[in-house]
Symmetry: C2
Subunit: 336 residues, 2 copies
């Protein structure tokens, strides 16, 4: 096995993890790949939702299914069942398998059993790891594996792994805050629905995971939004209306969503009480939150025309952290 | 082997081919993948330049290197040498290998030997093919393989394969024309260099392959461009300055490039004499060429601010055919 194969596998693992970036809150986004002894990719797994199977478990499940031909657990999403099944049925099939994981496999048993113990017990002899687990409760997976004779190779695409993990690191101490906007290719952000259905569903899935949405007072008055996650049957987060003027028409739909707190405040101090915060809006909200935002998420519709207003006069250089292309282009960015 | 594995492999083959879209002129962009018997990806190959090895040859070369451990031809770019070496040394290693190819393997021997004959002689038993070869001189590869007992499965991701092949189909009959522009995320297209170094190098590589560049008269007067391919040591294509007024300062650098024809004309009729045409410019050139362009290529810099003018008042909905993310975002599009 050469480094090229490990890097290729880690690239796949990172891309898989990005598909669920923020959606795994409060867990980190993680991707995992199983490799054959000559370095070819056998399976790719990704953590999708807190409480669900870890990335390693999905990758091991699919590698087992492919290599054994036994499809019993092929579609299974029950972490305990996959762990138990693999432990009793692996029959040495993993002895030639290596793994690439964006984050050190967890040592502890939480809502799901320990990944490191499973990897050890399946007899996997080599694990490529991008980033060491920064969570003391979950760390130690690598030494557990090393003690059992497995080789753990750290630092494969470490910089990319650290970027992937940034939100997770942040929300353990203070809120992770991202600014989201939708625009056309010509930069315009006004005049009707801009994003595709799949982009709006993704955005609702994010709302479902966030605990606070921040939005500008003018947008609330003008758009009269609901700010819920109805497209994915999700929960509606609390709302902070950022406004110097406190009076709002209470028939605006966002005020009638059950189990939601709505604040109308002229500062962003409230954010400190939350962990995952999405800021929605245009130019003025962008400017007001410029020192607060960790990341930026842009849904870009490949259209020219249809609007007038763009993000001017904002001046900002971004680094693209990850992009996803569907019928729209989804850009995860941070300031340079 | 299941269809999922074939689709995954074809996706990789398509993405690999897009890396060299238009750069293979006058050949088609083609990607190829070798798969092991359980469906894992062994190697990915792509055709890079007319006269160089075909995609299948690169994929077979790398599969051989990986599976045999023999690195003799690992870095070889000589098609004949790879063909000859594989034929004499394969030692049955390919009997469990399948392939996914975006275009039917060629049957004829041109600048390089026939891919279909090589695949047959290596004993490969299954080839997934996205699109049948539309070129009568090269077609027939699949029946040649079928006659030898190999299974050819057509139509895997056929729609995507046909999109990839569109320029090749077009330039065999009439010019393939694409409009290229660079913009910031806020849609602005003016005021200094917008694209990154790697984007400009890609654009110069395209210029090197094009036989004609079309540009508006105002851009020529204002930017005083050279319109060559110096960043990649490439050749400079002919230039058509699209202008109602025929007088230009002959000290503008584009007029002094050796071995170049420069036309100053008020119509686009001249395009019919060429095969691969890039139109560069802003709003007015976009509008003038709206009925002429097959595709659109946008280099998008992830920046806000720095310019004033965007593509307004153009109204256009695009389909994104392919996107590539580096420090810039490169979007291949066509009108919806």
């Amino acid at each position: 096995m050469n480094t090229t194969a490990a890097i290729h596998a880690m690239t796949l693992a990172l891309n898989a993890a990005w598909e669920y970036q923020l959606l795994t809150f409060p867990n980190p986004a993680v991707g995992a790949v199983c490799l054959s002894d000559n370095g070819t990719v056998v399976s790719v797994g990704t953590h999708k939702r807190a409480g669900g199977p870890h990335a390693e478990v999905y990758a091991l499940r699919d590698a087992y299914t492919l290599l054994s031909g036994d499809t019993t657990i092929a579609g299974c999403d029950d972490s305990h069942r996959i762990h138990d099944y693999l432990r009793t049925r692996h029959n040495g099939i993993f002895h030639t398998v290596s793994m690439a994981v964006t984050l050190e496999p967890c040592s502890h048993s939480g809502k799901t059993p320990s990944c490191a113990l499973l990897i050890r017990d399946l007899g996997i002899k080599r694990v490529y790891i991008s980033v060491k687990d920064p969570n003391p409760a979950a760390a130690g997976g690598a030494s557990l594996l090393s003690d059992a004779g497995a080789e753990c190779v750290f630092g494969i695409m470490e910089e990319e792994g650290e970027k992937l993990l940034e939100p997770f690191i942040r929300w353990q101490k203070s809120p992770f805050v991202f600014f989201k906007w939708a625009q056309r290719l010509d930069g315009t952000i006004d005049n009707g629905t801009i994003s595709s259905q799949s982009s709006r569903e993704h955005m609702h899935a994010l709302r479902d995971r966030c605990d606070l949405i921040v939005i500008g007072g003018n947008t609330v008055r003008h758009d009269r939004p609901t700010l819920d996650a109805r497209l994915v049957d999700g929960k509606a987060p609390d709302v902070l209306i950022y406004s110097q003027m406190g009076e709002f028409d209470q028939s605006i739909p966002l005020f009638s969503v059950p189990d939601r707190k709505v604040y109308v405040e002229s500062s962003l101090e409230r954010l400190k009480e939350y962990s995952l915060v999405m800021i929605e809006g245009g130019t003025s909200m962008f400017q007001a939150s410029q020192n607060t935002c960790d990341w930026y998420l842009c849904y870009l519709a490949p259209k020219l025309g249809g609007g007038l207003q763009n993000m001017g006069p904002i001046q900002e250089d971004f680094e693209v952290l990850h992009a996803k292309i569907t019928d729209n282009i989804l850009l995860w960015m941070k300031k340079k």
